[in-house]
Amino acid sequence: MSLTSPTPTRTETLLSIRGLKVHFPVYGGVLRRKVGAVKAVDGIDLEVRRGETIGLVGESGSGKTTVGRAIINVLKPMYPDVELDGSIEVHSRDGLVQDVNGLGRARMNAFRPKIQMVFQDPFSSLNPRMTVAQLIGRPLELHTKLTRDERRERVESLLERVGLQRSYAERFPHEFSGGQRQRIGIARALSTRPEIIVADEPVSALDVSVQAQVVNLMQELARDFDLSYVFIAHDLSIVYHISDRIAVMYLGNVVEIGSAEQVYMRPRHPYTRALVSAVPHPDPKQRGRQRIRLEGDIPTPMNKPSGCGFRTRCPIAKASCADLPPEVQTVEVGHTVACPHWREMQ
């Protein structure tokens, strides 16, 4: 098996997110007027290139899942009063560009097969009353003109492809272990031949030994089908392992983005540095190493601090950090940091 090169040189844009905002309005008062908003995603720029895996990490509540949902465009149907802003442009192979942010159902249908999702919880994301064949065949029924037999054949070959037996097609989800269910979820996402898969914590619920199997499978599939992943996870060592690039989120903003090496080995943003230093190492000899401690709790996205969202916990915060959102600075090619003071972090 060939190894992916450590510094990938993928250039073709597949998805470009510009100024994406997702606000959930909060109502109050006698007349239920809007009194505020949960700024789950508060203006992020992110580019996903064809064939690359971009890791999305960040504290819980930082908006990772919401970004994923925005990409697969399910926020409007799920929460009709959600406020969306900015653009999510899908670049087709033939050069067409379409903004899918909040796109209506009918027009979104053309893009659904291209963008698929794999969920964290393999237990609740599969309808227990459908057979595996029905589960995997459903997107095919919706988005392709395949006949019954063709669909069946596709389902079985997909099962084989994700490492399950063809005969499993007639079984129900509860008959499988967590890892097998996640394989079924992946097969379902693959069924429409997507170009990009948003994977929201796909291995978090799995056993350690099974995590490795699923990570390997996902990497193989990416190579074989030229897939892009938006890989959301909180386990940084796995994100580093699988990602070409990593984006770090904090309270609805991307605070740092760069190649996996840049972000994991040479983090620059004070939050990323604290995060990376907090990752436990499976090596007892490294115990005494220096940690950057963060004081205080994460503020909620409902009452975000002014200026930089991180300033309430930041070890190098200045008075000026409260004024304006931090300006994005370039550390080196492809590595940017939303903090003007990053050089002071030693």
């Binding site: 109502y27 109050g28 008062g29 006698v30 007349l31 239920r32």
Partner: protein, 338 residues
């Protein structure tokens, strides 16, 4: 929080209007209204007296018809009629009963204490019996006590309250003559001394109250049991055991407090419903309460009374719901209505 309850109060208004408007419209469209009944009475009267007012087909003079219509407010288009009615309600004037020929408010107020009396006693009885019973059943889940009480409770649940009442009445009242056959109070009430009154009243109360409460016994006991069982399986109960608390403290200090939350909040709803009385039970026991009144007024098309009972019940139930929310806030610190 204040704004939440203010909003709930305000929301009562459109709900109230919606319900009353619907029923008002129905009373207008369903045949057999007061005018029809008047005419029927006139017809009967004329047939009995042998005088034929207007040939074979009965006619009422235009003028008296108009007067009748005016009296019942039927001369106006429906929406105007409704607004008039609503305005009267706001001034606490519920109109005049066509059957009793007295103000509806008086008719209702006369019967209200009776329904409240039975309602509240039944309600209190249900809570006093069901909560301890539910707790006991949860703690001794699967024991003989649990199984037999479940059988009894479900028997009570599957028989409607009025039917149970009727059976008990026939057996205990008719056969054994242990209890009176009905009525709200014993005869000769005025001449009794205090203890006789108490005894008499108690005899008259026991069966109707049982009938009132039998249905809610099952739901309430099982709700209590399930709620406690669920909480006994919660992580915080394990924590309490791990602290070294005695079982009694774990159950009563930790689990029970949490499991009373759904019970408390049910209180408001229950009060609203119970006050509304029950026609069939009142009928079986020959008690002249609100349920009986409401039913009869529908049968007899005494629309002013129908609407009056509806007003009272709607307001009670809506207030009961708000009371429930309020109790929720009181017993569960996590709930903060915005």
């Amino acid at each position: 929080m204040g704004t939440y309850f203010a909003r709930r109060m305000l929301l009562m208004i459109p709900t109230f209007i919606g319900i009353t408007m619907l029923v008002f419209a129905i009373t207008r469209f369903v045949p057999g209204g007061p005018i029809d009944q008047m005419m029927l009475k006139l017809q009967e009267a004329s047939m009995e007296s042998g005088t034929d007012i207007g040939g074979s087909t009965m006619e009422i003079p235009e003028a008296s018809l108009a007067a009748l219509k005016e009296r019942f407010g039927l001369d106006l288009p429906m929406w105007q009629g409704y607004l008039h009615w609503l305005w009267d309600v706001v001034r606490l004037d519920l109109g005049t009963s066509f059957k009793f020929n007295e103000p509806v408010l008086d008719v209702i107020v006369n019967r209200f204490p009776i329904s409240i009396y039975f309602g509240l006693i039944g309600f209190a009885l249900a809570y006093v019996v069901c909560i301890p019973l539910g707790v006991l059943k949860a703690v001794r889940h699967g024991s003989k006590l649990d199984v037999t009480s479940s059988l009894l409770i479900f028997a009570g649940y599957s028989i409607p309250g009025w039917a149970l009442g009727a059976v008990l009445l026939v057996f205990l009242g008719g056969q054994l003559e242990l209890v009176p056959l009905g009525g709200f109070r014993p005869e000769g009430w005025a001449d009794m001394d205090f203890w006789e009154k108490v005894r008499g009243q108690a005899y008259h109360t026991i069966l109707p109250v049982l009938a009132y409460a039998a249905g809610s016994f099952a739901t309430l006991t099982i709700l209590m049991k399930n709620s406690l069982m669920e909480n006994l399986g919660q992580d915080f109960v394990r924590t309490a055991f791990a602290k070294g608390l005695p079982e009694r403290k774990v159950i009563f200090g930790h689990a029970l407090r949490n499991s009373l939350i759904p019970i408390c909040t049910g209180l408001g709803h229950a009060i609203g419903l119970i006050m509304a009385g029950s026609y069939l039970i009142e009928k079986v026991f020959n008690i002249n309460g609100i349920g009986y009144l409401g039913y009869n007024s529908i049968v007899e098309r005494d629309y002013a009374v129908v609407m009056g009972v509806l007003v009272i019940n709607t307001v009670l139930i809506l207030l009961g719901n708000i009371l429930s929310d309020f109790l929720y806030v009181l017993v569960d610190p996590r709930i903060r209505f915005e």
